[in-house]
Symmetry: C2
Subunit: 178 residues, 2 copies
């Protein structure tokens, strides 16, 4: 599991409220690790019990329940420990392969519309990533060590989207030319 460590990393970058974390997991981080606000609040509660993080009513809370979470030394140590253990290799797991197999067994059906949808999706993603890369990494050389790692994350997404797009285009061509 990584959600706890993803949240810890986010808090290390910047102390935040649960809501702010949830928004970041819907945007930038969310491209690579999605989480809903419920997951995040649950995880924050658990980590506070463990002493990895601490919280106080946020300075700008006013009459609201807004809390500011900050990473504690124990949390930083846990994060460092975790980064040094081997990471599980992610397996490919895509509903579409199950549908392809089902169609092969059923002997009927048409996936061309589905493939068009995917091609649009991956094309959009690739163009998002290209814009992010141009904005954050290509314009301002030389990059810090930290930025180079962030760039590697983005490149991972770019490689993945390119492969997905190429496969879908190839599959569509094969299913259309007959």
């Amino acid at each position: 599991m990584s959600l706890a460590h993803a949240v810890l990393t986010s808090l290390l970058e910047k102390p935040s409220s649960g809501y702010e974390l949830a928004r970041r997991f819907d945007k930038s981080i969310g491209y690579f690790w999605h989480a809903t606000h419920q997951q995040i609040y649950r995880e924050l509660a658990r980590m506070e019990v463990k002493g990895w993080i601490a919280s106080d009513s946020a300075p700008d809370a006013g009459a609201t329940r807004k809390r500011l979470y900050q990473i504690q030394p124990q949390g930083r140590e846990e994060l460092a420990r975790w980064t040094h253990e081997p990471a599980a290799v992610t397996e490919l797991r895509d509903e579409l392969t199950v549908k392809l197999r089902a169609l092969a067994a059923l002997g009927e059906g048409d996936l061309r519309e589905e493939l068009h949808r995917r091609i649009r999706h991956h094309t959009q993603r690739l163009s998002d990533y290209a814009a992010m890369e141009a904005r954050d990494f290509l314009s301002r050389e030389p990059l810090s060590a930290s930025s180079r790692l962030q760039h590697l994350i983005l490149q991972k997404g770019i490689f993945f989207e390119k492969a997905s797009l190429q496969w879908a285009e190839n599959a569509l061509a094969l299913l259309t030319q007959r």
Copy 2:
């Protein structure tokens, strides 16, 4: 969710016991959709309640509890219905990206060993897939419609492994040359 439909597809290809299904999900199918025997038995029980599948004591059961599961008309209809609804697009979700981000925030640590491990893993996978492709799809032309779909599934894996391998090699080079 797709496990139910993955199992249905497997039963459509060949009536089987839970144990046989579990073994197939550990081998060929498992490259694209992993499932443990507990998940499979749970799913078989649910689908039998729904009337999608039916079971009898297997012909070769002897004194064992071995059961043979067969797909029912309702199960086939459900599978056909499901293949025609849009498939959820799989998001990339890899622990390694979280570790990269954590290292960027912590400002220390070394992922080169991890990358070497990944390169070995993806190289092995690619060679497995190449062997499967040569055995099942490249030698015997022309392919049936069903075989062409199966080939597309395998190609999806090949595209994914190639992209993963290229990224890891590129990342290792970047992290080593300094």
